[in-house]
């Protein structure tokens, strides 16, 4: 399905929807697993003694709590994304099924990016914990440092948790650069701690602790100079797509299975190319160099599903400079919010989630204006029509329609009106 032909189902629409669905659940599982790892690491940090819990009247606990709060919103997004995937699995129409998965896309994308950043935050917590436990740096210095880092992280985390698709996508693009900054910070902090240790003649004991720590770090591939065993600096080594996945030199960055999963999600318009590319670059450690704002090589992007039609699909409607954004329009009329709420359209399935952007001419035509010169007898006004068909069907059925039945009817009417099945959330009062 392309943005140009919203109602036209390809013969293989079913299999596209199915593989996108499977990939979606796979990606949710992966991010959930990472979130669980972070969660237990945070609990360990809070319980461990000496270190963060005991030093300086527990003033560092707030940073563990900050991590915990991030993990909570990530888990909430994953839970909502899972519920939406469940709703999608009940929908017969493959276009509507894909539309629901696309609607859940920004949640998955935000959770993916958020969990990458959270892993970096955990690295800092671990390093700080080690320094505190061994008295390698002044409590005040470490505290100020964490405060600064939190401020660095916060705008992106806030944007990711905002649920505004445009904000999520913009933040996702900034994540590699941010991880790049944080990597330099990590390196600097590590170096400071190492020097402190030398003064205290604890260098030998520390070396092992540091290496153990850094091997587990999410930044390990970004820290080649600090960790010679991780291999040579990656500067100048090109990305390649091989049968095993995406390679950087001889090292595998992401597996072929992961690439395939992402390709399905990108092709279906569920995840954006910039977000998936950001994830690959962070995995590769390609975040510190000048190409922090650059793109992956074309071959890699294509393996991840990039292509002109995908770009067209994923334009989230940002109009050019000075151009007004086409108005957003509720597919399920907001005047009947309560009616839809009673039939299950609440939370992430709220009718505010189901808006479409219509060009002015189209919008007026649907509302009975524009070119509808024939429309005297039959008022083709969308809101009236959709409520009429839902109301009539419900009274004939003799019971409340289910969410799934409503979506089926809405999908059918959208096709008759040639409305692209690409939902965006409502913005405004």
């Amino acid at each position: 399905m392309t943005a140009e032909s919203p109602g036209r189902v390809e013969g293989n629409a079913w299999s596209i929807a199915l593989s996108a669905h499977v990939a979606f659940l796979g990606a949710v599982n992966e991010v959930s697993a990472s979130s669980r790892r972070v969660s237990s690491a945070l609990s360990r940090l809070k319980a461990g003694d000496p270190g963060i819990p005991s030093v300086g009247n527990s003033i560092f606990v707030r940073y563990v709590d900050y991590g915990e709060r991030q993990r909570q919103w990530i888990d909430a997004e994953l839970a909502a994304a899972t519920r939406m995937a469940t709703a999608a699995s009940k929908v017969e129409d493959p276009d509507m099924r894909l539309a629901l998965l696309r609607l859940a896309g920004p949640r998955l994308e935000a959770a993916m990016m958020g969990s990458l950043l959270l892993a970096v935050w955990l690295d800092f917590l671990n390093l700080t914990d080690t320094a505190l436990a061994r008295h390698l740096q002044s409590v005040e210095t470490l505290f100020m440092n964490m405060d600064r880092l939190q401020k660095m992280l916060e705008p992106t985390m806030t944007a990711l948790s905002s649920l505004e698709p445009e904000q999520v996508e913009a933040a996702a693009q900034d994540v590699p650069a941010l991880v790049g900054h944080l990597t330099s910070e990590f390196a600097a902090l590590r170096e400071a701690i190492r020097k402190g240790a030398e003064v205290l003649q604890k260098a030998l004991a520390l070396k092992e602790a540091m290496e153990a720590l850094t091997l587990l770090s999410s930044l390990k591939f970004s820290l080649p100079r600090l960790l010679p065993r991780a291999g040579p600096a990656t500067l100048g080594v090109g990305f390649m797509v091989g049968s095993n996945g995406v390679m950087l030199g001889t090292r595998m960055v992401v597996s072929a299975e992961w690439v395939e999963m992402m390709r399905q999600l990108v092709r279906a318009g569920i995840l954006s190319v910039p977000a998936v590319s950001a994830a690959v670059r962070i995995q590769a450690g390609q975040v510190m160099m000048a190409e922090a704002h650059g793109e992956l090589p074309r071959g890699v992007r294509e393996a991840l599903g990039d292509g002109p039609e995908v770009r067209g699909m994923h334009v989230t409607g940002k109009a050019g400079a000075g151009m007004a954004e086409p108005p957003r329009h509720h597919v399920m009329p907001k005047e009947f919010r309560e009616w839809f709420e009673k039939r299950g359209f609440t939370g992430e399935m709220d009718i505010d989630q189901f808006c479409v952007r219509l060009e002015q001419a189209h919008h007026e035509a649907i509302h009975g204006g524009g070119d509808w010169k024939l429309g005297r007898i039959w008022p083709g006004e969308w809101n009236r029509m959709i409520m009429e068909v839902l109301g009539r069907t419900e009274s004939r059925a003799g019971r409340m329609l289910t969410q799934n039945e409503i979506l089926k009817i809405v999908a059918e009417r959208m096709k008759a009106y040639y409305i692209p099945m690409n939902f965006i959330p409502w913005r405004g009062p």
């Binding site: 943005a3 140009e4 032909s5 109602g7 036209r8 060009e359 001419a361 189209h362 035509a365 524009g370 070119d371 509808w372 010169k373 024939l374 429309g375 007898i377 039959w378 008022p379 083709g380 029509m385 009429e388 068909v389 839902l390 109301g391 009539r392 069907t393 419900e394 009274s395 004939r396 059925a397 003799g398 019971r399 329609l401 039945e405 089926k408 009817i409 059918e412 096709k415 008759a416 009106y417 040639y418 692209p420």
Partner: protein
């Protein structure tokens, strides 16, 4: 959106151009040659990028008004909805799922019925449910015997 879009330009002229290209002198003739196809399928055949199902319906209503054959169009539209919602024909048992499919067909049909004929369509729907047709019933067009009984032509 592409520059080609159903709601851009003179869509009525476009519609008739496509109908003539396919060898018909009216939209009604084109549609009646495909009596069980949905409006969306008709639109797709006329122009996958620039014709909408609702426009085909508008065109059909306008023609039927002129030729005073609206009731026939309404019967024809029920045929299309029945084929879309009940592909295996009228159900033998009205369990919950089948009842929804029947309700859906009737609900969509009356919604896509001109105001002047909604009441008659409603009554025809009542009659269908009160005295259900034989299982598997799937009318082939507006001349179906049962449909003619339920909604006889009045205009002619």
């Amino acid at each position: 959106m592409s520059d080609r879009h159903p709601f851009q330009g003179n869509w009525v002229a476009r519609l008739y151009e496509r109908v003539r290209e396919r060898g018909y002198d009216s939209l009604t003739a084109f549609a009646e040659a495909r009596p069980t196809a949905s409006l969306v399928a008709l639109a797709e055949e006329l122009g996958p990028d620039d014709v909408a199902g609702v426009q085909v319906f508008k065109g059909l209503v306008a023609e039927a008004e002129r030729s005073r054959r609206l009731t026939r169009l309404v019967r024809g539209q029920l045929v299309r909805e029945l084929w879309a919602c009940l592909p295996n024909g009228w159900p033998a048992v009205l369990d919950d799922a089948n009842r929804f499919d029947v309700a859906h067909a009737l609900g969509a049909w009356v919604t896509f019925t001109p105001e002047t004929h909604k009441e008659r369509a409603d009554k025809a729907g009542d009659a269908l449910l009160a005295t259900p047709p034989h299982p598997g019933w799937r009318p082939l067009g507006p001349d179906d015997e049962l449909l003619l009984t339920l909604l006889p032509d009045e205009e002619v």
